[in-house]
């Protein structure tokens, strides 16, 4: 890095000498630079406008649609006020989906955080081939949900890997219908998601553990803390930020998870794994209930933003204070 910087110092100087050496071209160059300044700012402003349009304006648009009675393919803007919202509050499917969202959260988040933390702590013990293990654990996370959904459908089939393994451990058990049972399906999905996300959680925690100042660990060791105590008393309290980040990211993921569950169960059996994003998609693109669908989407957005905005506020205020 140092060499790079030095090199660019030099090239830069040589250009500048040229510019200064030929006064005639100086003002021409300057005016081009002025235009260049404009170009860079212009690209920035255009991308800001795109984000304002494609994120903020669309959110407003979506809220407006949720206040209309748009049904069917032809778009209509007849305002019916909050009728969609009151319909939603009486909709059994909506509350089931929301409940499923929270059950999924309750199983998936604690398990993957505990597993991720465990993997991170164990990988932190100066193991050989740490890079290899890290890659293996993280590989599921890099794969597309489309791929992992079919992999797990295959795992969950009646004579699939999971049933075979359970049969090998406890012979004679009946075949478990992982995705066919409405109460078990959500647990099965959580198992698959824990498999996919624990590597990522591990990575977040590992980065946190590595950024604990070595002097603190050393001081604790001199005071006699070692092994288990060192982690519970010293390191885990130090990586609160990582835990917070992992928690928020997983929470937002569970709220907007769509691809995986949609491809794996399609929301079934019954409404067993119906969650808000799936309900929203089905209402809009299968039943053409666009207004009602955007009502659900708005609700989803409000829940996600209630988590996101405090998170961003805390993260960036803390960082600015540190400077």
């Amino acid at each position: 890095m140092k060499a790079l910087k030095k090199e660019h110092w030099n090239t830069n100087k040589s250009i500048l000498i040229n510019i200064n050496g030929i006064p005639k071209t100086k003002w021409i160059m300057k005016s081009i630079f002025a235009r260049d300044k404009f170009i860079i700012r212009l690209i920035f402003i255009i991308s800001c406008i795109l984000i304002i349009y494609f994120v903020y304006f669309f959110i407003v648009w979506n809220v407006i649609v949720s206040l209309t009675g748009w049904e069917g393919l032809v778009q209509t803007y007849d305002f019916i006020g909050l009728e969609n919202y009151s319909q939603m509050s009486q909709d059994y499917v909506f509350w089931t989906s929301l409940l499923n969202n929270f059950i999924f959260m309750g199983i998936f988040i604690p398990s993957s955080i505990i597993l991720g933390l465990l993997l991170a702590i164990i990988l932190d013990q100066k193991v050989k081939r740490e890079g290899f293990f890290r890659l293996i654990y993280l590989l599921p996370y890099a794969l597309s949900f489309v791929v992992t959904a079919y992999l797990w459908q295959w795992m969950f089939t009646s004579d699939g890997v999971l049933n075979i393994l359970i049969d090998a451990i406890v012979p004679g058990t009946i075949e478990i219908s992982w995705l066919g049972n409405r109460y078990l399906a959500l647990v099965s999905i959580s198992i698959a998601m824990i498999w996919q996300f624990s590597g990522y959680v591990m990575l977040v925690f590992l980065a946190g553990i590595r950024s604990v100042p070595p002097s603190i660990i050393m001081a604790a060791r001199i005071d006699g803390a070692s092994g288990f105590k060192l982690y519970t008393r010293i390191i885990i309290p130090q990586i609160k930020t990582s835990a917070f980040t992992a928690f928020v990211i997983l929470m937002i993921f569970t709220l907007k998870a769509f691809d995986f569950i949609y491809l794996l169960t399609g929301g079934g059996p019954g409404y067993g794994t119906y969650i808000l994003p799936i309900m929203m998609y089905e209402e809009a693109f299968a039943k053409n209930q666009f207004a009602y669908s955007s009502t659900i989407a708005t609700t989803l957005l409000i829940v996600v933003m209630m988590i996101t905005i405090p998170y961003l506020y805390i993260t960036y205020r803390k960082r600015d204070n540190q400077k």
Binding site: N12, I15, F33, F58, S215, S294
Partner: protein, 305 residues
């Protein structure tokens, strides 16, 4: 010897756990050695078991891709085929050839586009600071956490009305735009560490902003470019929601085509797994050779979905 080295040395010494408690007692030393070995062995056993658990689904999928339909129903899903066949792969290849090409096209274009824009936005937000630039930044990166469901209906209408539905340009533009927040975040956090003095010196010498960007910032940023590009490539390649809503039969991306391949009345698991394998190849390739950069991107505040 630097301070760091000293700390490291002391650390490694403390690691032995013997420093405090042993007074030339060979029995105690032996005891500690055995205890330590047992600890290390259980550690590795746990690591290897976890690695196997993590790998089982992938293993089962990969071997299924090389089995014939008849063999698939006869053999255990955990054991490799006795007479491996390439038929599922060729069948999947026929189905996925064109969609994969589509996916490559828009993934490459959108990756390059969003990285360039993200780099410029990151540069403006750190080195050309203006009043309220931090707030603008926060407004930009909220897009990372945005549940796409809440904008998908307006997006669908807009793309359809622009005539970009089911086309290369539609997918490219959408992925570039929704890639701006995360690439801006990645580049900004990197450019923050480039000292302002470097730019000030160039400015004093008469360099304009474009020159500074081209001659100083760009040559210093191959790392964030690789990190952002790897991250964007995986995200865009893996995307399913936009593919599902913004494309039809003319311009099928690979993720959508794969779900069609698998979603027939009776799933041919060997073909599905072969398709999934083909579709995952670029990601596995990136993961093995550029995994380090992908991890950096993931740590730098990345989010999936």
């Amino acid at each position: 010897m630097t301070l760091d080295n000293m700390i490291e040395m002391i650390n490694s010494e403390l690691d032995n756990e013997m420093v405090f408690s042993i007074k030339n007692n060979s029995k105690t030393i032996l005891f500690y050695k055995i205890k330590r070995t047992i600890k290390r062995v259980t550690l590795y056993v746990f690591l290897i078991i976890m690695a196997i658990i993590m790998f089982i689904p992938l293993w089962s999928g990969i071997i299924a891709a090389f089995k014939s339909q008849a063999e698939l129903s006869l053999t255990s899903p955990l054991l490799p085929s006795l007479s491996p066949t390439l038929d599922p792969l060729t069948a999947a290849m026929n189905e996925l050839m064109r969609p994969m090409l589509n996916s490559y096209l828009f993934t490459f274009m959108a990756t390059i586009g969003s990285c360039l824009i993200g780099s410029i936005c990151g540069f403006v937000l750190t080195k050309l600071k203006f009043k309220g630039s931090n707030i603008v930044f926060l407004f930009l990166i909220i897009g990372i956490f945005l549940p796409y469901q809440s904008i998908i209906i307006p997006l669908f209408i807009t793309i359809r009305d622009l005539g970009l539905y089911d086309s290369l340009w539609g997918m490219t533009v959408v992925h570039i735009i929704y890639g701006i927040p995360i690439t801006t975040l990645l580049f900004r956090s990197y450019y923050e560490n480039i000292p302002d003095n470097l730019l000030n010196a160039a400015k004093v010498d008469g360099a304009g902003i474009m020159t500074i960007y081209r001659r100083i910032i760009l040559p210093l940023s191959p790392l964030p470019f690789v990190v952002a590009a790897v991250f964007q490539f995986t995200t865009i390649w893996n995307d399913y929601l936009f593919a599902l809503i913004l494309t039809g039969s003319d311009f099928e991306p690979a993720s959508f085509a794969l779900s069609n391949l698998a979603g027939g009345t009776e799933t041919a698991w060997n073909n599905t797994m072969a398709g999934a394998l083909l579709y995952s190849l670029p990601i596995i390739f990136i993961f093995i050779f550029l995994g380090k950069y992908l991890m950096q991107g993931l740590i730098a505040g990345a989010i999936k979905g």
